[in-house]
């Protein structure tokens, strides 16, 4: 039990480090000013559109809303170049895939934000640092 807690704490620390690390990475092209990096939100939806483009990939998903319809969320991720060297390729994520995305929300009020990680129903985890 104690070991488990330690492990959880350790992985939390590692995760925090990783986020800081990746935040640094994205800085190569732009700052994080458009995103609220102190807040992390999570939504689940269906992949509607993928822009596998430089300088950043954008993933759009449809998230069911309480009106019986759905809202589109957009997420900015790293670049294809960066991700493809880390096992997340153009075909890893497909249209129609169900995905749960954690993100730093946009400050401008649009739905979406900076992609932090995404969990697919097959257990694959996508992060800013590639696929695991």
């Amino acid at each position: 039990m104690k070991t488990n807690m330690k492990r959880t704490l350790l992985s939390a620390i590692v995760a925090a480090g990783l986020i800081a690390a990746v935040a640094g990475t994205a800085m190569a092209h732009h700052s994080f000013s458009a995103f609220n990096t102190t807040d992390t939100k999570t939504v689940t939806g269906t992949v509607k559109k993928i822009e596998w483009t430089n300088p950043h990939i954008w993933i759009y998903i449809d998230v069911p809303n309480d009106k019986g319809g759905s809202d589109t969320y957009g997420f900015e991720g790293m670049s294809p170049n960066y991700l493809e060297r880390r096992d997340w390729t153009r075909t890893t994520l497909k249209l129609g895939d169900k995905i749960t995305v954690s993100f730093n929300p946009l400050k401008n009020g649009d739905n979406g934000g900076m992609f932090r990680n995404g969990k697919l129903s097959n257990g694959k985890v996508l992060t800013m640092n590639g696929a695991q």
């Binding site: 480090g17 990475t25 800085m27 732009h30 300088p55 950043h56 954008w58 900015e76 649009d110 590639g130």
Partner: protein
């Protein structure tokens, strides 16, 4: 009648263009000699810089199990997000978590090498000793930092920032020249090793003008003449007297060390030296990076971010296809 006018204008424009081009040609004062077979074979005796290199530990080995995945490495390469805001006030960012893994030597001058690539500077300025005039410029920047820089509009950072991007670069050696193909922003540096001298009054350029020479196993690159749009560190301009000396050498078969010393008698009170480390990835190729392909980030003239998410508030179909 009409056709003679056409011919005349063709002649005039041909004359104009040939004049223009001959002027450009005459501005290039150094002619290279045709390389001989001996020149080509001499390259084989130089250290093997071939292949694709990335700062820090780099990513996973795609298709090879990813055993060498260095998660923390790119971070160290790009610096922390806070750096452009407070590069000087922040503690030195030299602590490259990837460095031990990559077998890099300890940093010399208080770090800062990795920070602030996003600011176009490539260096956070930690450990940099600025003259009062330039320190005032840095303070002014820090007192009112822009939300983002022109890099978010896809303007390449130039030197020295282009050497600290979280993307790989490839070294090409040919007789009399070293070419560095830089993936980030699709950039190229041309380093002449044919014995020519640096120009006395170089045109200001993003990469400056570079010459190189081999000192034993070390490629020493001397660069002058930088565009005023490149930065010494985040928010810190340089003078037209900035000079950058880089020493590239292999520290083990797949690790390259780059020691960078910046001098600028108007901006710096002392030379600023940093050391960074590149890792070779034999199974990588340089990829295309067209920043304008789908840039949804950006800043306006006042430095305020204007992101185009392709979504309107409340969530509707992406606007841009």
């Amino acid at each position: 009648m009409r056709s003679s006018t056409k011919i005349l204008s063709a002649i005039v424009s041909a004359a104009f263009f040939s004049a223009a081009f001959s002027w450009i040609a005459s501005a290039q004062t150094y002619s290279t000699k045709p390389p001989t077979a001996a020149d080509w074979s001499a390259l084989a005796k130089l250290p093997d810089f071939s292949g694709v290199w990335e700062r820090g530990g780099g990513g996973g080995a795609a298709g090879a199990g990813g055993a060498a995945r260095g998660n923390a490495a790119p971070a160290a390469a790009a610096g922390a997000p806070a750096a452009p805001r407070g590069g000087a006030a922040a503690p030195p960012r030299g602590g490259n978590p990837a460095a031990p893994a990559a077998g890099a030597p300890a940093r010399g001058a208080g770090g800062g090498a990795g920070a602030g690539a996003g600011a176009g500077g490539g260096r956070g300025g930690g450990g940099m000793s600025l003259t009062p005039e330039y320190d005032a410029k840095r303070r002014a920047y820090q007192a009112n930092p822009p939300e983002d820089t022109q890099a978010s509009n896809c303007l390449p950072p130039g030197m020295p920032g282009i050497m600290t991007q979280p993307y790989p670069m490839e070294f090409l050696l040919s007789p009399g020249k070293v070419t560095i193909v830089i993936e980030a922003y699709t950039q190229v540096r041309h380093i002449y090793t044919d014995g020519r001298k640096l120009p006395e009054d170089p045109d200001p350029r993003f990469f400056g003008t570079s010459i190189g020479r081999w000192e034993g196993d070390t490629l020493v690159v001397d660069t002058v003449g930088f565009s005023p749009q490149t930065l010494l560190a985040a928010g810190v301009p340089h003078s037209d007297k900035m000079r950058i000396l880089e020493r590239f050498r292999l520290t083990d078969p797949d690790t390259m060390s780059i020691e960078t010393t910046i001098t600028d008698p108007e901006a710096l009170t002392a030379p600023y030296t940093t050391t960074s480390s590149l890792r070779r990835h034999r199974n990588w190729t340089i990829a295309e990076y067209i920043c304008e392909e789908n840039n949804r980030n950006g800043v306006d003239d006042t430095g305020k971010v204007k992101i185009n998410t392709g979504i309107s508030a409340g969530g509707t179909t992406p606007k841009k296809d």
